[in-house]
């Protein structure tokens, strides 16, 4: 058989084992939590007969390993079961909340990269200058400020006082359901439907939460960029290139930057993965119906179906981004081929 089959097989097996272990750990921890998922459905004033009926309906009377086995079996057919605390199928819920978070995370990471990389580069090249200190200070602020506080302050300033951006929520009340959900991401769907007004409204609502999340990412990315760049700029080949007559910025972009790309991609992938996990506090402040809030609400209601499905998705995201990074390394760094 071709050489890559056993290698691929090993990869797949390793991913599967990781995910299975993750799910098992979550499942058994979840069942040990003293939170009763039945109460989320029937309310705490209900009587024993109602309780028993729903308990049996949910299959909670079966032994733990049987419940876990059933869940894994259903999952193979992408049947994640019902979310108790929303009353919908988990798969339907995820199809609704995950795109909302993808949209927010993607715009945030674009802001994070768009500002973070240049800032980091400038800080490294003009090391020790005022620009460097300012960039690092702004970064530190972004890194240490709590997102929900920044969110509320941002709302007070940019929404309530200045009226520059839309308020909490993804859309203004009058635009709800004007656009068919194709991808679930309003910015794309509104363009696909040819509704520019909806697009600008969605944009005005996403720009503030994305900026806040982007600000934290930017802080992290710029710091790492700066530190990677400094490492490169201290190398001998940089001196050699300058001696040969290349201008400062030619050296920086064409040589140093290309060498830090691999490390930078790791950093960016990680930052993106964290954003995709859902920033529950930001989502709460901005009434953003995303993945973070969904997972948190499911956890607080003791809803193992929802929590396990979410954990699986997060596991897949990290694994996926890891793989993607690996592929990009091979593309960018000839030494790894």
């Amino acid at each position: 058989m071709p050489r890559w089959v056993p290698a691929l097989g090993k990869q797949v097996a390793s991913v599967a084992v990781t995910l299975l272990g993750l799910l098992a750990l979550t499942f058994f921890m979840g069942r040990m939590l003293p939170i009763d998922p039945v109460i989320a459905i029937i309310g705490e004033q209900a009587e024993k007969e109602t309780y028993d009926m729903v308990y049996a309906q949910l299959g909670l009377d079966k032994p733990l390993y049987v419940q876990f086995g059933l869940f894994i079996r259903d999952m193979m057919t992408l049947e994640f079961g019902d979310a108790l605390f929303t009353g919908n199928k988990v798969a339907d819920d995820l199809a609704r909340v995950f795109p909302a978070t993808i949209e927010l995370a993607t715009v945030s990471i674009i802001i994070g990269i768009g500002l973070g990389v240049p800032f980091g580069m400038l800080a490294a090249v003009y090391r020790g200058s005022l620009l460097d200190h300012v960039a690092r200070f702004i970064g530190l602020l972004g890194y240490s400020s709590p997102n929900f506080w920044l969110g509320l302050m941002g709302l007070i300033l940019f929404y309530a006082t200045l009226g520059w951006v839309g308020g909490p929520g993804r859309l203004d009340v009058m635009f709800i359901d004007m656009v068919e959900p194709v991808t679930g991401m309003l910015l794309i769907d509104s363009l696909l439907a040819g509704e520019p007004e909806v697009f600008w409204d969605a944009f005005s609502h996403i720009v503030l939460p994305a900026s806040i999340l982007g600000y934290s990412s930017m802080a992290y990315i710029s710091r790492m960029t700066r530190s990677f760049m400094l490492e490169q700029l201290g190398q001998e080949y940089i001196v050699a290139a300058r001696v040969k007559g290349l201008s400062r910025w030619q050296v920086v972009w064409r040589h140093a930057f290309r060498n830090i790309l691999v490390q930078l991609i790791t950093v960016i992938a990680l930052a993106y993965a964290f954003l995709l996990e859902g920033a529950v506090l930001t989502e709460t402040v901005f009434a953003w119906p995303g993945f973070g809030r969904y997972l948190t609400s499911g956890l607080l209601a003791g809803d193992m179906n929802a929590v396990l499905a979410c954990v699986l998705i997060i596991g897949i995201i990290f694994v996926g981004l890891n793989l993607l990074s690996d592929l990009l390394y091979r593309a960018l760094d000839p030494r790894t081929r």
Partner: protein
């Protein structure tokens, strides 16, 4: 710096400026024909009136699937006709005949009859969710309900009772409840599913949009995002003033406040004390506080050797600074109350008699000494981590410490707290309860009466059982009072029970919950009462 870099910076700034221009919202007001409310819709899982077990769903459903009779908006102890326009009771008190209006229509224009009502009532009992207790506690049962509730013609419903309950009590407790909404039987039966041999009576179908008689109907529900109601133009009363009601899920108090101040919403229903204080000062906004028929209280485990002593529990009554709390922490949140029957309910003690305690450390110490614990004791105290519960708990803990009682506080998520309460797994518990109907029987039948105190009985829906407390005399008194048909005599009996429970009961009630709702002044005639928030009269 190089030209490339300068160009890049300039381009970014230009884009940002351009984007901001495009982004400035044209106007930031709510649509003229819609009432926009912000709320926390996390607990909403269904719109089936037979299944709704939480406050938000109940609030909304009473505007979509109206009950057979309704509470008077100004005095909840009075019942007014709604879909049932009149009723009569047989001499032996065992049969109630209700006449329904003949102009009831579903939003499609189809006529709604007593047969639809009969089916809707039967399914509540058959489905067996929490709401079925509204019926089963009066003797209606799955196996007999077909005979017990019958539609004898298009406009008449006949109810056969097993005991001659006072009709006022039944009207308040059963007929005015949200589970008596009239659903479309034909549609429900057509869309019913059978799972494992059990008929779901359209439960899955009605989950997203019930088809009922009411001023509004549910046209959209995006989970955890928005609920949209639209006016039913075939409503038998004059149609609702506003065409739509839009309920937005905004889970953060600060965000709701900003939306309200900017005018992007008309009503904010989830606000904390700080935001309420600020909104109260805003001339464009009116804060309406409604005293609800719900409580926050301390429950003691009567099986515990120390807490089982009534004198010990009585001592705790004097460790709560009712007046102090009322002036500070309870602003917008509660009204001090010690009687288990809320003010405003039929049979309740008045404000003064219903709250005779005050902070009195000496009295508490004396009672403890009488009970045999002059040096106090140590107990575990569990409380919810939400809202003002921890603050109130710390208050009790501080006062208790002054008389030698060491209370070890543990905060937890609500779901966790309910689980522990329902399984008797606590020593001292601080928790809340909402009365189902504005009659003393509502609280007494659950907090004072305990039909079976054995652990195996698992009567987790009885807070009295949760506290392992049973008093056979009180069981009898409550039953007698419940059946008493002379209103004056009933009231006296309930006063008697309340005074006894205030002294000896397993709970120390601290305050009656208050529900604050902030409304923009442009909204008129938005009727906000303890059991009904009426959307159809609201106008702008």
């Amino acid at each position: 710096m190089s030209t490339t870099v300068r160009a890049a910076i300039a381009a970014t700034l230009l884009m940002a400026a351009g984007a901001t221009q495009a982004v400035s919202p044209a106007q930031a007001a709510t649509p003229r024909d819609a009432l926009v409310m912000a709320w926390n819709l996390d607990a909403l899982i269904t719109f089936d009136p037979a299944q709704i077990a939480e406050v938000n769903g109940n609030d909304i459903i009473r505007n979509v699937c109206e009950p057979l009779v309704n509470y008077d908006l100004t005095d909840v102890s009075k019942i007014l006709p709604n879909h049932a326009e009149s009723w009569s009771v047989s001499d032996d008190g065992l049969t109630i005949t209700m006449k329904l209006r003949d102009d009831l229509k579903f939003p499609s224009g189809k006529k709604a009859t007593a047969y639809d009502a009969e089916w809707s009532l039967h399914r509540v009992v058959h489905l067996g969710f929490g709401n079925s207790a509204n019926f089963t506690q009066w003797g209606f049962h799955k196996d007999k309900v077909a005979e017990q509730i019958k539609a004898t013609d298009e406009h008449t419903l006949v109810f056969k009772l097993s005991k001659p309950y006072p009709v006022g009590l039944l009207l308040s407790a059963m007929f005015a409840s949200g589970s008596t909404g009239i659903l479309d039987k034909e549609l429900g039966e057509k869309n019913a599913r059978v799972n494992d041999g059990k008929n779901d009576y359209g439960n899955a179908f009605f989950k997203t949009a019930p088809v009922c008689v009411g001023a509004y109907r549910v046209t959209r529900w995006n989970t955890n995002e928005v609920v949209i109601l639209e006016r039913n133009d075939n409503y038998w009363r004059e149609p609702a003033k506003l065409k739509r009601v839009i309920i937005r899920h905004v889970p953060e108090s600060g965000a709701q406040r900003l939306l309200l101040e900017k005018g992007d919403i008309d009503v904010a229903r989830l606000l904390n004390t700080d935001d309420l204080r600020a909104l109260d000062r805003n001339p464009a906004i009116h804060v309406e506080t409604t005293v609800m028929h719900g409580f926050a209280y301390l429950a003691f485990n009567a099986e515990d050797p120390i807490l089982g002593n009534p004198k010990v529990r009585e001592a705790f009554r004097y460790l709560v600074d009712y007046q102090g709390l009322g002036k500070t922490v309870l602003e917008y949140q509660g009204n001090p109350r010690a009687s288990l029957v809320p003010e405003g309910a039929f049979g309740a003690l008045n404000a003064e008699e219903g709250q005779p305690f005050k902070l009195d450390l000496d009295k508490a110490k004396a009672l403890l000494a009488e009970a045999g614990y002059p040096d106090g004791f140590t107990k575990k105290y569990i409380v919810s981590a939400n809202n003002i519960a921890p603050v109130v708990a710390q208050h009790v803990q501080a006062n208790a410490a002054k008389v030698g009682i060491k209370l070890e506080l543990e905060q937890m998520a609500d779901a966790n707290l309910f689980t522990r309460a329902r399984s008797r797994d606590f020593e001292v518990l601080q928790i809340g309860w909402g009365a189902g109907y504005p009659d003393a029987d509502s609280m007494i039948s659950r907090h004072a009466v305990n039909p079976d105190n054995r652990l195996e009985a698992k009567l987790a829906q009885y807070p009295s059982w949760r506290s392992s407390w049973q008093d056979v005399k009180i069981n009898e008194k409550a039953e007698t009072a419940r059946m008493e048909r002379d209103p004056a005599k009933r009231i006296e009996m309930y006063h008697d029970i309340q005074r006894y429970m205030m002294k000896n009961g397993p709970m120390a009630y601290m305050y009656q919950t208050v529900r604050p709702i902030a409304v923009r002044k442009e909204v008129k005639d938005f009727a906000i009462t303890p059991f009904n928030v009426v959307y159809r009269t609201a106008g702008k």
